[in-house]
């Protein structure tokens, strides 16, 4: 094993004039990149170990450190890129599957960046959200076809309305943004706590992922969506009832068709209690649910969960965006789901095989457009809510998604970034220097849940403001009037086929 073919991806530049050998970098790096030599009073850095998380650079008090992407050390080749070579060297070394974290980073088209939003001029006044009410309240849940009601007049001649249709349970969101499923285990308790507290303070929801629900988060029951995944970790009646909604996870955008693996090292005492599995054992989620081998099985699970929660909570289904996503979604509506979550191929993960993450699934924009169209053609779109996930990077992605037909968006990576994540994609190592994707107490304490909460609240607040600005600019004062209104979108630099799938016109075409 003396032969080392793979070379480092990063280069650490240390300005010796500025470095005061305070050893902050040494203590901060969980990858042991920096080492202090007390004889020489000098710090050495090992480029090979660096993951590019920029923690040391950020915390260096004198600004002595710079982490740079290393110039390609291989002979330039557009076909055999350095990442291909590096991966082959690693696999030849190890014989294993290459793991990675976070979403696909390959240069596939990002359709959000090829869609432009509309604004009102003259014939339709734009509305100033600072002066006029701007409504972005959103409801997630199943909707009946019509309301039956009884109308009567009281003795004063006032109209009295009595509803005879019972509205199925709904989640009420103050903004069409929720925090996506991230399990306790894949991320730290402090990160979970920050998400839960921020969702609760802002009037939206966070999702436990498949890691069970830590007792200390029971207080956020009204803002919690619990997940039931193939591993069934932490699932019991109490778990289901400590939530406002239940989401059955069939697939995840980063790794459609495959299960999950939380290494035993991350299964600490607390994680083991929460997941209801022995401490230190690997938590393996099977690829399929072993009780779901077809759509009718899914329907049974949906109704089993509805029974268990007394039909008081919406039960949804999360699927990853795959080629056949539209008919699958249609089946899920008919199976009785109250909402469908579609996770695009760029969606994040704590750990996934690189080959799957980078090559399986389709973009969320196309998946959303075709699911929405399919459900409308079948006359069942109004029955369910659609939540999109899988790389929603900004408020403009949210508003474009809503105009394409989504009811709300889940954000995962964006929330982690708000808490300090630098997308080094090494979540699966459990060594997250930002204290997010780790269970090491030395690292987790770096994320103060109060600060995490505040930063997440700020993110929700600023995105909501931006959404209101864009809505007002388009002359709309309620988000429901934008939902599925593709007339407000135009494509740029897209083919006829892409425009047809997205159901939008090209920029420059009027109504």
């Amino acid at each position: 094993m003396a032969l080392k073919l793979a070379q480092s991806e990063f280069e650490i530049e240390r300005d010796s004039q500025k470095c005061i050998s305070c050893q902050v970098c040494v203590r901060q790096c969980s990858n042991d990149v920096h080492e202090y030599d007390s004889d020489e009073d000098i710090i050495y850095s090992d480029n090979d170990k660096c993951v590019g998380c920029h923690r040391c650079e950020n915390l260096c008090p004198t600004g002595a450190i710079k982490i740079k992407e290393k110039e390609a050390e291989f002979k330039k080749n557009y076909n055999w890129t350095s990442s291909h070579l590096r991966n082959i060297y690693k696999q030849a070394d190890s014989g294993g599957i290459i793991l990675t974290g976070m979403g696909c980073d390959k240069p596939y088209p990002v359709y959000w960046d090829h869609i432009l939003f509309n604004a009102a001029q003259v014939t339709n006044p734009s509305i100033d959200p600072l002066r006029e009410p701007m409504e972005i309240k959103t409801f997630i849940g199943r909707k009946p076809d019509k309301l039956n009601m009884e109308i009567s007049k009281d003795k004063n001649g006032n109209t009295k309305i009595k509803l005879k249709t019972k509205i199925p349970p709904q989640l009420e969101l103050s903004t069409p943004i929720m925090f996506s499923a991230m399990s306790y285990g894949s991320i730290s308790f402090n990160a979970c706590m920050s998400l839960a507290a921020a969702a609760s303070k802002f009037g939206t929801f966070y999702n436990t992922g498949e890691g069970g629900l830590h007792e200390d988060l029971y207080g956020f029951v009204n803002n919690t969506i619990v997940q039931v995944a193939s591993g069934r970790f932490g699932v019991d009646k109490n778990y289901l009832n400590k939530a406002a909604a239940v989401e059955i996870k069939i697939g995840q955008g980063a790794k459609p068709g495959i299960g999950g693996h939380l290494p035993g090292e991350k299964v600490t005492r607390d994680v083991s209690r929460t997941r209801m599995i022995p401490k230190g054992t690997d938590a393996l989620s099977p690829a399929p649910h072993h009780d779901i081998y077809s759509i009718e099985d899914l329907s049974q699970l949906i109704y089993a969960l509805k029974e268990a929660t007394d039909y008081k909570k919406p039960v949804g289904v999360k699927i990853s965006a795959v080629h056949n996503v539209a008919p699958i979604a249609s089946g899920i509506v008919r199976a009785g789901a109250d909402f469908i979550t579609i996770d695009g191929f760029r969606g994040g993960t704590g750990a996934a095989p690189l080959v799957i993450r980078d090559n399986v699934g389709i973009p969320i924009e196309l998946a959303l457009a075709s699911v929405d169209r399919r459900l409308r053609e079948e006359g069942i779109r109004h029955k369910v809510s659609i939540i999109v996930a899988g790389s929603i990077r900004s408020s403009s992605d949210v508003i474009k998604a809503i105009a394409l037909g989504a009811d709300a968006a889940y954000i995962g990576t964006a929330a982690l970034v708000a808490m300090g994540c630098h997308l080094c994609q090494k979540c699966y190592t459990g060594k997250c220097n930002w204290g997010i994707a780790t269970q090491d107490p030395y690292l987790t304490k770096r994320l103060n849940p109060e600060i995490g909460t505040r930063r997440l609240l700020n993110l929700l607040h600023s995105w909501s403001l931006e959404i209101k600005e864009m809505l007002g600019g388009a002359g709309i004062n309620a988000i429901e009037s934008l939902r599925g209104s593709r007339e407000h979108l135009r494509g740029i630099d897209l083919s006829e086929k892409e425009l047809a799938i997205l159901g939008i016109k090209h920029a420059g075409e009027a109504w």
Binding site: T123, P144, K146, L147, I151, R376, G475, S481, R483
Partner: protein, 400 residues
Amino acid sequence: MNNYKHMETTKNLKESKQHCFSRHRIPSGCAIFGIVNESGKTFNGSMVLDGISMMHERSNGLGGGFAAYGIYPQFKKDWAFHIFYDGSISKSQTEDVLKENFKIIFYEEIPTKNKSFVKDPPNMYRYFLKLKNNFVDSGANKKKIDTDSRIDKDIIKEKEEDFIVDLVMKVNSNIKGAYIISSGKNMGIFKGIGYPEDIGQFYKIDDYSAYLWTSHGRFPTNSVGWWGGAHPFGLLNWSVVHNGEISSYGANKRFVDGFGYECTLSTDTEVVTYLFDLLVRKQKIDLSIIHLILASPLWEEIKKMPEDKREILKAFRILYSGALMNGPFSIIAANSDFMYALNDRIKLRPMVAAKKGNFLFVSSEEAAIRKVCSSPDILWHPRGGEPVIGVVNKQNIKNK
């Protein structure tokens, strides 16, 4: 619907004027004016003509029109179709469809004044039609229907209306150069390219007597006009005139689409008409609460309401979010029973209402009302989202 088989061939030919305008939404500013006599007493069209003429400034000569209710008492049980034709082929194709489905009681060219009044009018005819009896018996609807029972009468009425809607939509989208502009009973729509006062004179509006009149002057942002594209928009007994731009158009279109309404004209007025048809005729939601759906109160107002009311409004917004109309608008929707006027919920378009005895007036500007009724009993500016409803006492009409 094998009735339409022969139309499939013409479908591909369908484009020309109608098609090219129908695919584009054209925002427009406008004048609207409506008068109803709630006792059902009919009055001459000169009054509405006088009123709308006052708002000349609000139109630009690219569209004007009138809807009148109670004008065909001699045919009050028959479907009255007003149809525009570009040429004789479209006329014979359409008449084939009519003959196949209806007994034509009477038809004639719509009487007009000297054509020099207006530019390029199409050929226009009106037909008074009785549906052939067999339409309910066809295909899947073969279920035995007891024609005496009250419930079945309602079912038959609704089926008949659905059939008319279907037929009108198919003729309008499949027969090139033919366009049914109104399809109700004892009512009619008169419209075209020009200022409303010219259109009114062209059609000799003052020769008709109606108990309910609405009118429209158009200021579109395009320069070419198509006679069928003028307002009011009509379907069954519905007529809608509208000033503004519905910025929720896409969401509303999706909503009605889910219930089988195909928006072929891409106009705001069309989608508004379908919303009314769906909520009032099909879902039978009481007229007095429709505004809570179409122009729902803001959440911050709902928050302050007593709990029972709050829950109901919340339910409306959850279920009928696609029916919420957003953006600036004032509309007058009418059918043979009532006139219904509504502003958007933050009142981005003008609308004034007034009452004098049995007369109810709604107008874009007060001047139009004052012109025809100098001293109303009351005159008010309805708040955003607050409907003005004039219900016609049908008893009086029947007794006449």
